[in-house]
């Protein structure tokens, strides 16, 4: 299959990009960053954008760094940037662990962090990271900039709170306290495939008991989300297998699994249980 006809634009500044998007959004103008999801979708003609606004020539969007206690990731930062820790401390370690699960090496050279968040595939690892760690999304349009909290951002399968004329210019992730432990486990059919279920957990230990646990589940529901019931089962408990099993059981019970060719609800719950427990065990090690 070959893509339908479209017009290509290559702005060189954020302002220009936002102006273009503002004027072309009504004609299904779309932002092109890494193109690793959009372009195949266009090749199948499942997406037929009238205009592509290529932001790769905008140097400022390629920036990444920490500021005011948060990691700031620009719209053109590639997955591959996270192969090595981008900040000192657990957040950089966490992201360099997770990134290895995103597709394959060549795709990671091209695909972008913000592109994954804008695309909002249920199986996106970065979406799970964003929602579990409480990221903030910076959306720009001709109407100005606004900040969207992760819990308000995801609205369904591949849909987000971004308006059609808004450019996701940056994502901010709060840095993690130095003693934060994390665990990530993902199940997919083959290395690099979309996750059928995955779990990202973080917590700190205070005298052997669990403090500030976060349990995020992805790939199982329409959007990744934190599981407060599982987190409640961890707070103040000893970091041991019985605790982890109980929390994992709760996560498996409370998720409302999608059903598809790869997994029915029963199987997805099995995977959520296994991934959650294993992520917790990994964090405790």
């Amino acid at each position: 299959m070959k893509p339908a006809r479209f017009e290509y634009h290559a702005p060189t500044s954020v302002d220009e990009a936002v102006q273009l998007l503002g004027s072309l959004a009504a004609e299904d103008g779309r932002i092109l960053a890494g193109g690793q999801s959009l372009v195949p979708t266009m090749a199948f003609r499942l997406a037929k954008p009238g205009h592509l606004i290529d932001i790769n020539a905008i140097a400022t969007l390629g920036q990444i760094g920490s500021k005011d206690g948060a990691l700031e990731i620009g719209a053109c930062v590639r997955h591959a940037a996270f192969h090595r820790p981008v900040v000192a401390g657990p957040l950089g370690q966490l992201m360099s662990t997770v990134v290895r699960h995103i597709a394959h090496y060549p795709i990671r050279q091209r695909g972008t962090f913000c592109g994954s968040l804008a695309h909002a595939d249920p199986a996106s690892e970065w979406c799970l990271v964003a929602v579990t760690l409480g990221a903030q999304m910076i959306a720009l349009s001709t109407r100005g900039a606004r900040t969207i909290a992760a819990e308000d951002y995801f609205t369904g399968i591949m849909t987000t709170a971004l308006a059609e004329d808004e450019l996701l210019s940056q994502v901010r992730i709060p840095l993690l306290a130095p003693d934060t432990r994390f665990g990530f486990r993902e199940f997919s059919r083959r290395a690099g495939d979309y996750a059928i279920a995955m779990a990202l957990v973080t917590f700190r230990l205070d005298g052997g008991t669990i403090v500030e646990p976060r349990v995020g589940i992805g790939g199982a529901e329409a959007n990744p989300r934190r599981i407060p019931e599982a987190e409640a089962a961890l707070v103040g408990k000893p970091a041991e297998l019985t605790t982890f099993r109980a929390a994992a059981e709760i996560a498996a019970e409370v998720v409302e699994p999608m059903e598809d060719m790869q997994a029915d609800a029963i199987y997805r719950r099995d995977l959520v249980r296994a991934m959650t427990r294993r992520a917790l065990e990994q964090a405790a090690q």
């Binding site: 006809r5 059919r189 690099g192 979309y194 060719m261 029963i266 099995d270 296994a274």
Partner: protein, 780 residues
């Protein structure tokens, strides 16, 4: 059993493939490299069954439909046995569509993008009709008929029962029964199908360049359908990026390309994309098998019975017909085991799905899976090691005439089993398995012993009752005045390294190195009529023809040398590029013999014909290669994920002409077999819509999923092959699924769970564990 001895010549050496430098440097020439004036895009059915009421083509667009093809015959493959009901497949759907993906119209435009736009704008109005997708459902009396003329959708039906079957079965101490399911697969060659047809105004001929495994039969078929002289069509198979059987059946699209090139008096090209390939290129392996083994108290198989249902899709493939899967299953199901009492019913069933065609192994991956599962289940009941029950049942004396009348030539079923057992150290594995279970980890071992019928000629194909009986291969071998050798073959290699292999065979006979021998293939203008490359036949049959032709050239060279050197023919030795008189220092370069044969014929005084050329044809009865595969896996009981730790194949393909190429064939086949066992599955929904249309849904294995593969060889010498080489193209794919599934079942034993379905996906394995609900799960 005689084992081949080391050989001093080119045969037996792992020389580098002559094919590779071109391919590695990106200098290969594939169908899609040719420029074309027009591009073709097919509008395909989105319904599994329906009646076309109207096709609306936008103004100014060119789109060919069935009404334009009034004089073109439908493809109508024929079989003269087994109650086969002939059915026709129109080149473009005429009135009815019968599967999602069936071509309805062909859009012609100057570029792919324009053709795509037009194809998208074409509207096909259709009345939906009831579709039937599942083969067992299709057999029911009330099921919709895919073709009106085929009652009960039963297009072919084979049955065999050996005399005394019931008595043998009655003597059994134990009867073991299994139901098995093989899901549908796509062979998925790296290069999808594609064709380019160019009309030559000067000669009035068309050249069809296409990604095919059988150029000569493609030419015969297309000229028959279009009613044109065979000589007006040239078919070229350039570099072909894999076939695995998918490219040995006639594509309707190629017929249309030739028709279009003649109509437009121009060049047209169509290149299938992956989505189209997954939807509309041929599928395979969609079978249900019920198998029953009757064993005596020692675990000896006394009687074997099976019921095979093969879902053959909506049409019958040319040239083999859709009977190829069910009939192959029936003929070869007893495999490498000595069993005299056999009963089998095999049915081919039409459904509203993509047509079935041969795929590497044709049925044998499925029947081996069934039979080897039966052996493992029986071993469990008898408390025997899987290796031991096989030991008690494998054929050991040759020639062996099977219950279905196949003659098994000299082979090494028992020896390859012992070789594999020794290589993996079975007792050590069992100890490790026990220790792992205690730690909540589940390892399993799986055996698969099988025979691989290869290199069979016309007698074997004739037994199937096919209208078109493939089998022989011819080679035209010549040495030009400069001493370079050309070997023109009807076989059509597409990745097998056959140019290298044949050059090695020829080199040993005529005393020139392989790099002085050019093998020419894949062009009906330049090669003798032959059937192509499929069914593990080319090394045996084209190789045999090469040997026979090379012997004729050798004797001619000796004759010339004897005359020029004034020595007796018996004293002449061809070696190292020269003819030498044994025991003397007299010699003459082979180039000088070649020159003389063309330019100094007067010296022959009429005793020797000018030139150096010979042809030979080889049409053998066939020879059975064999192997024993062993997989060692770890199953994660919580997720159902399978990791293959190690894979061992002890294999016997007779004399190895180029061991490196043989290893490559086996490794590639095993990789495909592992994909079949664990990953690959074409899925239709109940309405006949296909759900696996991209490589995000249809999952071939990647390098991550393929374990180290350890190969061991035996080289049994068999008189059934003139080169003593047996075929080896399909064995890897035949044996691997059974080994992997048996290993999974061995790993699942503590749960009491069993899986008899391929692919054994994580979800299915997990479901099997749920179904068994043994206490071991709580320990996980």
């Amino acid at each position: 059993m005689t084992i081949a001895q080391p050989h001093a010549g080119w045969v037996g050496r792992s020389i580098r493939r002559v094919e590779d430098p071109t391919l590695i440097a990106g200098a290969g020439r594939f169908t899609a490299d040719l420029p074309a004036t027009y591009r073709v895009r097919f509008v395909r059915s989105e319904r599994a069954a329906g009646r076309i009421s109207k096709i609306h083509v936008p103004d100014g667009a060119t789109a060919i439909t069935a009404t334009d093809l009034a004089g073109v015959k439908p493809i109508r493959p024929m079989l003269h046995k087994f109650d086969y009901v002939p059915i026709g497949q129109p080149i473009l759907a005429r009135d009815h569509v019968r599967f999602v993906g069936e071509p309805i119209a062909a859009v012609v435009a100057p570029s792919d993008a324009e053709a795509e736009d037009i194809a998208e704008a074409i509207e096909v109005a259709m009345e939906d009709q009831a579709a039937v997708i599942d083969a067992r459902t299709a057999l029911a009396a009330e099921a919709p008929r895919v073709h009106a003329e085929v009652a009960g959708n039963l297009i072919v039906k084979g049955a065999v029962e050996t005399p005394g079957f019931a008595d043998a079965r009655a003597r059994a101490d134990s009867i073991v029964r299994l139901e098995l399911r093989s899901r549908r697969q796509n062979a998925m060659p790296l290069e999808p199908r594609g064709g380019h047809a160019a009309f030559d105004a000067g000669s009035g001929r068309v050249t069809l360049t296409c990604s095919t495994q059988m150029p000569h039969l493609t030419r015969t078929a297309i000229t028959d359908l279009l009613g044109m002289p065979e000589s007006d069509l040239r078919v070229v198979a350039p570099d072909v990026g894999g076939g695995f059987g998918q490219k040995m059946s006639l594509a309707t699209e190629y017929v249309l390309l030739v028709w279009l090139a003649r109509k437009l008096r121009s060049s047209v090209a169509w290149h299938e994309d992956r989505r189209e390939n997954l939807i509309a290129a041929f599928h395979s392996r969609d079978q249900f098998i019920e198998i029953e083994g009757a064993f005596d108290s020692n675990g000896k198989l006394l009687a074997l019975a099976a019921d095979v249902i093969a879902n053959v899709g909506a049409y019958s493939c040319f040239p083999t017909t859709c009977a190829v899967e069910p009939l192959m299953a029936m003929a070869e199901l007893p495999g490498p085991y000595d069993v005299r009492a056999y009963r089998c019913a095999a049915r081919g069933v039409l459904t509203n799905t993509c047509p079935m065609a041969p795929y590497r192994g044709v049925s044998r991956p499925v029947i081996t899976f069934a039979l080897e599962r039966l052996m493992d289940r029986a071993a469990l009941e008898f408390g025997l090691e899987p290796s031991e029950i096989r030991r008690r049942n494998l054929i050991e004396t040759f020639p062996y005439v099977s219950a279905t009348g196949l003659t098994f030539d000299e082979a090494s079923y028992r020896q390859t089993l012992e070789m594999a057992v020794a290589a993996l150290d079975l007792p050590a594995f069992r100890a490790r398995q026990q220790q792992a279970r205690a730690r909540g980890r589940y390892l399993g071992i799986g055996f698969s012993a099988f025979s691989e019928r290869t290199g069979y000629g016309t007698p074997a194909f004739a037994a199937r009752g096919m209208e078109i009986i493939p089998g022989f291969e011819t080679i035209d071998l010549s040495m030009g005045p400069s001493g370079l050798v050309e070997a023109r073959i009807g076989a059509s290699p597409h990745g097998q390294g056959l140019r290298t292999t044949l050059a090695q065979i020829i080199a040993d006979e005529i005393g020139v190195p392989p790099d002085r021998i050019r093998v020419i293939h894949g062009d009906t203008d330049r090669t003798p009529y032959g059937f192509g490359t499929f069914a593990s036949r080319s090394a045996v049959i084209a190789g045999g023809a090469s040997l026979l032709a090379a012997r004729k050239v050798r004797s001619k060279l000796i004759k010339i040398a004897s005359l020029l050197l004034e020595a007796a023919p018996d004293d002449i030795v061809l070696d190292g590029g020269a003819a030498k008189v044994a025991g003397t220092d007299r010699s003459i370069a082979i180039e000088a013999l070649a020159r003389a044969a063309y330019h100094q014929v007067h010296r022959f005084k009429g005793e020797i014909e000018p030139g150096i050329a010979a042809s030979a044809t080889y049409d053998p009865a066939g020879t059975f290669a064999n192997a024993c595969h062993v997989a060692i896996v770890e199953v994660d009981p919580e997720t159902g994920q399978v990791r293959i730790e190690n894979f061992i194949a002890a294999e016997d393909a007779g004399r190895l002409i180029n061991p490196m190429i043989v290893d490559g064939q086996i490794q590639g086949g095993i990789a495909q077999g592992i994909g079949n066992a664990l990953l690959e599955e074409i899925v239709y929904d109940q309405t006949g819509n296909i759900l696996t249309t991209t490589l995000a849904d249809f999952l071939p294995p990647t390098a991550h999923e393929i374990p180290p593969i350890e190969l061991h060889h035996l080289e049994t010498v068999s008189d059934a092959s003139v080169t003593r080489a047996k075929g080896v193209g399909e064995g890897g794919a035949i044996g691997a699924p059974a080994a992997v599934i048996n290993a999974i079942n061995d790993a699942l034993a503590p749960f009491g769970a069993e899986i008899n379905e391929i692919p054994a996906t994580p979800r299915r394995i997990r479901a099997a564990i749920h179904a068994a609900r043994k206490p071991a799960e709580q320990r996980a």
